[in-house]
C-alpha cells in the first residue's frame, strides 16, 4: 500500500518535472521565434528553409504514395457496405470527408513522425552526446535559438502543407479505385465529391495538422535533449520520441474531433 502510494507520488513528481521542462522549452522556443526576431536578434531563416525542404518537400514521395493507397483502400472498403444498398455513388462522399477531416492529416503526421520526428531526436541527442550542444552554449549561442526554433517553424508549416497535398492525392486514389474497379461513373463521382465537401472540412484538417506538426517537433526536440549515455541512449530516445509523438497525435486528434463534434 505504502509502496503503491510512493510509486504514485514519484510518478506524479516525475510527470510534473517533465511538464515543467517541456514548458521551459516551449517558452524558450516561442521567445526565439517571436520575441527575439522583433528585438532584432534574428532568426536562422536559412536553417528554417533547409529544414522545411527536409520535413516537407522530401516527405512528399512517401506521403503521396501512402495516401494514394489509403484512398484506394477507403473507396474499396466503403463500396463493400454501400454496394448492398446500391449506393456506390456515396463512396465519393465517404472518401472525401474522411480524407480531409481525418485520414490525410493523420497519415501525414504519422509518416512525418517516423521520417523526421525520429531524425530530429537522433540529431539533437547525438549533438548532446558529442558535446556539440555544450559547445554552442560555451560560444554564447543559445541551443534553442540555433537548433530548435528553425526546426519548429519548419515543422509547423511543413505538416499542413504536405497535408493539403495528401488530401488531394487521397481523394484521387479513391476516385481512381471507384471509377476503375467499382465502376462508378467519373462525372457522378466528381459531382458527389464537390457536393460533399465544405470549407469547414479543410479548416478542421489543416488546424489539426498544424498542431500535429507542433507536437512532432516538440516531442522530437524534448526527447533529444533528454538523452543520457552514448549511442544506446540516442537509440532509446529516438524510439521513445516516435512512440510519444504518435500517442500525442492521437490524443490531439481525439480532442479536436470531440471539439468539432459539439461545435
Amino acid at each position: 500500500m505504502i509502496a503503491l502510494a510512493g510509486r504514485i507520488g514519484r510518478w506524479t513528481l516525475n510527470a510534473l518535472a517533465a511538464g515543467a521542462r517541456v514548458s521551459v522549452l516551449m517558452v524558450d522556443t516561442v521567445f526565439w521565434l517571436v520575441v527575439a526576431p522583433i528585438r532584432g536578434k534574428g532568426l536562422r531563416t536559412r536553417s528554417a528553409v533547409e529544414s522545411f525542404v527536409e520535413f516537407g518537400v522530401r516527405s512528399l514521395p512517401i506521403v503521396g504514395m501512402i495516401c494514394f493507397l489509403v484512398g484506394v483502400i477507403l473507396a474499396l472498403q466503403s463500396s463493400y457496405t454501400l454496394e448492398k444498398w446500391g449506393a456506390n455513388r456515396f463512396i465519393a462522399t465517404l472518401v472525401a470527408v474522411s480524407a480531409l477531416r481525418e485520414m490525410a492529416p493523420l497519415m501525414t503526421a504519422i509518416l512525418i513522425t517516423g521520417r523526421c520526428g525520429s531524425a530530429i531526436t537522433a540529431e539533437i541527442a547525438t549533438m548532446k552526446v558529442s558535446e556539440e550542444v555544450d559547445a554552442l552554449e560555451v560560444m554564447g549561442l543559445n541551443p534553442v535559438k540555433y537548433l530548435v526554433a528553425p526546426k519548429f517553424l519548419a515543422m509547423a508549416l511543413a505538416v499542413p502543407c504536405v497535408t493539403v497535398i495528401a488530401m488531394f492525392i487521397m481523394v484521387l486514389g479513391g476516385f481512381l479505385a471507384s471509377v476503375v474497379v467499382v465502376g462508378v461513373p467519373a462525372s457522378i463521382y466528381i459531382d458527389e465529391t464537390i457536393r460533399a465537401l465544405v470549407e469547414k472540412d479543410l479548416v478542421i484538417g489543416l488546424t489539426k495538422s498544424a498542431f500535429f506538426g507542433i507536437a512532432i517537433c516538440w516531442v522530437g526536440v524534448y526527447r533529444g535533449f533528454q538523452v543520457e549515455g552514448g549511442a544506446e541512449g540516442v537509440g532509446r530516445q529516438t524510439t521513445s520520441s516516435v512512440v510519444t509523438s504518435i500517442f500525442l497525435i492521437i490524443i490531439i486528434d481525439l480532442i479536436f474531433t470531440v471539439l468539432f463534434y459539439f461545435l
Partner: protein, 266 residues
C-alpha cells in the same frame, strides 16, 4: 604555493553535486593572468566538473567563481553570454558541428556575435585555421579530418573570438604521442603568441611536464596539491605519489592497506 598577483580566475570553495552525489567538495584555487594552469586528476576526481563550472555549463551548489573580478556564478544569463565571448573552449572530442564545414565552425561565433562583413570573417577564419596548422582546410567537413586535426580545428574555433582565457578539456586524449605532443606545442604557442591564459584539464603526465606553469591536483572532489610541477613532484601526499608513479590501487585480498581500509585502523 602559487603567487596570487594579478589573478584572472578565482575559485572560492566550490561545491557541486549531481543529484545527491557531491562531486566537488570545497575546491578553491587562483589562476594568474597569462599562465598555463593544469587541473590534474584521475577519472572521477571532479576535474571535468570544475571545468564545466568555469565555463558556465553548470551552476555550483555553493561557492564563487570570479572571472576578471566579476562574479560569474551569480550573473544573469545575458551577462554570462557577454563574458563567455572572452572565453574559448576546446572539447575532448572537439565537438565541432558535424553538419557544417570546418571553416563555418570557426566562423560561427564571429558571425553570430559581431556585425563584421562576410569577407572580413572569411579572412579571420583563414588566419585562425592557419594558426593551428590547418590552412586550406576550411571547406572540409569535420568527418573528413583526423582526430588530431579535429582537435586543432576545435582550438581554432575556441580562438575565433580572440578570447582572454582558453579552456582545454583533455587535449591529448585519444591521440598518438606525436600528435599529442603537437597539440601541447600548440597550447604553448597560443600562450606565447597571445599571452593567453590557459586552463587545461588532463590526466596525461607527459603533457603536464611540457606545458604546466601551475598544477592543481584533484582527488575525490578536493584539491590535494597545488603548485609548480616541482612542488607537486615533491609532495608527500600518498595519492600524488601514487599518481606520479603510475601505481595501481591496492588489489583486493592479501594487501594490508586494504585490510586497514576495512577495519579503519592505521
Amino acid at each position: 604555493m602559487n603567487d596570487l598577483t594579478d589573478p584572472i580566475i578565482v575559485v572560492e570553495d566550490l561545491v557541486a553535486k549531481y543529484g545527491d552525489r557531491t562531486v566537488l567538495d570545497g575546491v578553491s584555487f587562483t589562476v594568474r593572468r597569462g599562465e598555463i594552469f593544469v587541473i590534474l586528476g584521475g577519472s572521477g576526481s571532479g576535474k571535468t566538473t570544475v571545468l564545466r563550472n568555469l565555463v558556465g555549463l553548470m551552476r555550483p551548489v555553493s561557492g564563487r567563481i570570479l572571472i576578471n573580478g566579476e562574479d560569474f556564478t551569480s550573473m544573469s544569463e545575458q551577462e554570462r553570454i557577454e563574458l563567455r565571448k572572452k572565453m574559448g573552449m576546446s572539447f575532448q572530442e572537439s565537438a565541432l558541428l558535424t553538419s557544417i564545414s570546418v571553416g563555418d565552425n570557426v566562423a560561427l561565433p564571429v558571425r553570430e556575435h559581431t556585425k563584421l562583413e562576410a569577407s572580413t570573417i572569411d579572412i579571420m577564419t583563414k588566419i585562425k585555421l592557419e594558426l593551428v596548422g590547418l590552412g586550406g582546410f576550411e571547406n572540409y567537413l569535420p568527418s573528413e579530418l583526423s582526430g588530431g586535426m579535429k582537435k586543432r580545428a576545435g582550438i581554432a574555433r575556441a580562438m575565433a573570438m580572440d578570447p582572454e582565457i582558453i579552456f582545454y578539456d583533455e587535449p591529448s586524449a585519444g591521440l598518438d604521442p606525436i600528435v599529442a605532443a603537437g597539440i601541447d606545442a600548440l597550447i604553448r604557442k597560443m600562450r606565447e603568441t597571445f599571452s593567453l591564459t590557459s586552463v587545461v584539464v588532463t590526466h596525461a603526465m607527459e603533457s603536464v611536464r611540457l606545458i604546466a606553469d601551475t598544477v592543481c591536483m584533484l582527488d575525490g572532489g578536493r584539491v590535494i596539491a597545488i603548485g609548480t610541477l616541482d612542488e607537486i613532484e615533491g609532495s608527500d601526499h600518498p595519492y600524488v605519489q601514487q599518481f606520479l608513479a603510475r601505481r595501481p590501487d591496492a588489489e583486493e585480498g592479501g594487501d594490508s592497506s586494504y585490510a586497514r581500509s576495512l577495519t579503519g585502523v592505521d
